[in-house]
């Protein structure tokens, strides 16, 4: 039964998904599950080999997301100002460009400093920077970039008040579908939840605590800050996990300031701490 249909499809050019669904409908029930398009097969193979995620080189994020940003999914990173959201976004871009992949940053807040981005490890030659003025333009630009084959697109909505509001949920669903269709990772950084049900995973970065060097009568020097990143939602997993993220200002370009010495370990990772463990520890110390 499938043979004449296959012939028909081969003779008459059809859109691949339409051809696949027609073939599936023509096959017996037991065989339908075994039919895969090349794209689906490639995705399944990569997922089974553990290559389905896009490592961000931010260990906290990679642990919370089980290996990194999932390809073909929308991940939303929510964080108020000074929560480390922008740093995580840039770290993901740095990781992607360091593997030789091209990446795009849709920067609604227009907050990228190219010199600082290069210092953070982003290969600027592989980064496309798009600076829309309104949310509607940002969404349209993101969709275009996903459809053109960028493996990682980061959309940063900047600081509130957002220019153009939150956007309607259908547009976020549309973005998620486009990411799925093109097997691209989409990371959305926003000051508050915007993507609704479209996000496969939602991370929340709480406001960080600044760490200063010096103090008292001696001059202070900003050393970094600690933020807590929490998994608010993840399809197929229980939410609630959280981890401490420490960010340093080492090597940050600073006007007329010589580079600080001595060099210290760049990333001091606090041990993973479960939120629920706090009351127990307090009870133990008491």
């Amino acid at each position: 039964m499938a043979e004449p249909l296959t012939q028909t499809i081969l003779e008459k050019p059809m859109h691949a998904p339409a051809a696949l669904s027609r073939l599936r409908s023509a096959l017996p029930e037991g065989l339908r599950a075994h039919l895969r398009s090349a794209r689906e097969l490639d995705r399944d193979l990569r997922e089974s080999a553990g290559e389905g995620a896009f490592p961000t080189a931010v260990p906290v994020l990679d642990r919370l997301l089980d290996g990194g940003l999932p390809r073909g999914q929308l991940v939303e990173l929510v964080g108020a100002r000074a929560s480390g959201r922008f740093s995580i976004l840039l770290a993901a871009l740095a990781a992607a460009t360091s593997t030789g992949e091209a990446a795009a940053l849709v920067d609604l807040g227009d907050g990228l400093d190219p010199a600082a981005a290069a210092a953070l490890g982003i290969d600027l030659e592989r980064l496309l920077w798009v600076r829309p003025a309104r949310l509607k333009e940002a969404l349209a630009a993101t969709e275009m970039l996903l459809a053109s084959g960028f493996p990682l697109v980061a959309l940063d909505l900047g600081l509130p008040p957002l220019r153009g509001g939150r956007g309607v949920e259908s547009s976020w669903l549309r973005l998620a579908r486009t990411a799925r269709a093109h097997d691209a990772a989409l990371l959305v950084g926003s000051p508050y939840r915007v993507s609704g049900t479209a996000a496969a995973a939602v991370l929340k970065a709480n406001r960080g605590r600044a760490a200063w060097r010096g103090g008292g009568v001696s001059p202070c020097l900003l050393d970094g800050f600690n933020a807590r990143v929490e998994l608010e939602k993840c399809r197929g997993r229980l939410p609630g996990q959280s981890e401490e993220l420490r960010l340093l200002v080492e090597d940050l370009p600073r006007p007329a300031l010589p580079p600080r010495q001595p060099a210290r370990p760049a990333l001091v990772q606090a041990p993973a701490v479960q939120e629920r463990a706090w009351p127990l520890r307090r009870a133990a110390s008491a």
Partner: protein
């Protein structure tokens, strides 16, 4: 002996018009030259010829014969584009092509027949030439011979392609009437009086007598009749740009009808670019305006593309931004070609972006956001953190094998506030003292209307100042004192005081 192929487009003005308006192919169409009732028919479609139309009739006479006649004036733009398209078809077969004007192109066919194995390779090549012209919407005929004249005569004969074997040009031309040889020469009447009717009759006359009676022209004509064509093939230089356009039957005042007509022209233009392996780097639109005007628009593309939809969107945006201001009577698209970006696919490394897709995406982003908002960022020499530059996004090819991501450095990034947010700062000393540390930050009075992030609150910790001086020799020097401040409950900011004015700004958030 050289072999020359001729591509000949019969009824050239009509063929050029039908290439631009293919929907008229089944109509009784006549192409006329001249104005008003004095216009004369130059060429007509088969349907019109069946009604009795022939070249030379005036337009009223033609309309009397065929009341449903569709008349179109000769269009130089259409004819130029059709001629270019014909030459491009020829150039797809041979690098040496001569532009003989008015629907005639000669090409050096020496050795090309080797690409067409079979019992009659030249015949196959002639068919391939005609098929390629047909694909470019040009119903051209082909003829192949050892001289240009014989090839041209062969292309004009029915049942093309006609192949004249090498050395048999004289025998081929001999039975043909003299008009085939050179219908415009003024010796035709003299020859008629001599009783010479065919090319063969003329070729049999002694050459010395012909030269003494008819002069140099006669001698050359006689050589031609004997199959000797001394004119060599003169290859043309490929033009630097591709043209496609037409004169409109009625001047257009609205954008949508113009884009409808323009889309067809862009389609043809992109097909021509594709056939040569080019893409459009810059598109110019030349418009002739009613009653007497001319405007040119230029659309620069971020990367070479031949995506019609993208080009049309850019033209639409350009015309919406700056309307021509008068009805458009004709237009020409001029595409400046460039090689499209190429990418080598890899089996083991990360996938490269498709150059075609990337080019059209960049062009659409340019159209959506403007050229100053899309690109690859680069730092600028200097210390001012708000400065940057954008260059064309042209990523290097990905590595041959997939690399592991570089280990994260866990560095804190600054989100730049562009432009800087104006703030008011209370310090623990005199405001003019550079060492006076901020103790409280307040939002500027008009911050609410400007819809900028509010930066305000008591300062918990302040670190600084870091001095910045730049371009003291310029008209716009920078002298700033930077501070890192932690504002209670609102985060970490980078603020600075302008030394010249004493004004305070927040230009970044540690985020």
């Amino acid at each position: 002996m050289p072999r020359i192929a001729c591509l000949y487009l019969p009824l050239f003005p009509l063929a050029a018009r039908l290439r631009s308006e293919p929907e008229l192919i089944r109509e009784a169409l006549a192409v006329v030259e001249g104005n008003g009732n004095a216009a004369r028919v130059v060429a007509a479609t088969r349907l019109a010829r069946a009604a009795g139309l022939r070249p030379g009739l005036t337009l009223p006479q033609a309309r009397a014969l065929c009341p449903k006649l569709v008349a179109r004036p000769r269009d130089a733009d259409c004819e130029r584009a059709a001629q270019e398209a014909l030459l491009e078809v020829a150039e797809a077969f041979s690098p040496r092509v001569e532009d003989a004007g008015e629907g005639i192109a000669y090409l050096d066919a020496d050795g090309i027949e080797r690409h067409y194995p079979g019992p009659s390779p030249e015949l196959e090549m002639g068919r391939a030439l005609m098929n390629a012209a047909e694909a470019a919407s040009l119903p051209a005929r082909a003829g192949i011979a050892s001289s240009k004249l014989a090839a041209r005569v062969a292309a004009g004969l029915p049942d093309p392609p006609v192949i004249v074997p090498a050395g048999e040009e004289a025998a081929f031309l001999s039975p043909l009437p003299l008009q085939r040889l050179a219908p415009e020469v003024d010796v035709a009447e003299t020859l008629e009086r001599w009783g010479v009717r065919s090319v063969g009759d003329f070729a049999r006359l002694p050459p010395s007598r012909i030269a003494s009676r008819l002069g140099r022209l006669g001698r050359e004509l006689h050589s031609t009749a004997r199959g000797v064509d001394p004119r060599p093939l003169i290859p043309r230089e490929p033009p630097p740009a591709f043209h496609e356009g037409m004169s409109l039957e009625w001047p257009l005042v609205a954008l949508e009808p113009f884009l409808f007509v323009g889309r067809a022209a862009l389609d043809r233009l992109c097909q021509r670019l594709e056939s040569r392996g080019f893409a459009c780097q810059r598109l110019e639109l030349e418009m002739r305006l009613e009653p007497d005007g001319f405007q040119t628009r230029s659309v620069v593309l971020p990367a070479p593309t031949r995506d019609v939809k993208t080009l049309l969107t850019l033209v639409r945006l350009e015309l919406e931004a700056r309307p021509p201001g008068a009805p458009v009577a004709g237009f020409t698209f001029v595409a400046h070609p460039d090689r499209p970006r190429e990418a080598q696919l890899t089996l083991y490394g990360p996938a490269a972006l498709s150059p075609d897709k990337l080019a059209s995406t960049l062009a659409r982003l340019f159209a959506l956001l403007g050229p100053d908002r899309v690109g690859s960022p680069r730092p600028v020499d200097g210390h001012r953190p708000e400065r940057f530059t954008l260059v064309d996004f042209s990523p290097p090819p990905p590595p041959e094998t997939r690399r592991e991501p570089r280990a994260g450095r866990g560095l804190l990034a600054v989100r730049v506030l562009r432009p800087p947010v104006e703030i008011e700062v209370l310090t623990n000393g005199a405001p003019e003292e550079p060492e006076a540390a901020p103790v409280e930050v307040r939002a500027a009075p008009h911050a609410e209307e400007a819809k900028r992030p509010r930066v305000e609150g008591p300062v918990k910790v302040a670190s600084g100042p870091w001095g910045l001086e730049e371009e003291w020799w310029a008209d716009d020097p920078a002298g700033r004192d930077y501070w890192d401040v932690e504002i209670a409950g609102r985060g970490l900011y980078r603020i600075y005081r302008e030394r010249a004015t004493g004004a305070w700004y927040a230009d970044g958030i540690y985020d």
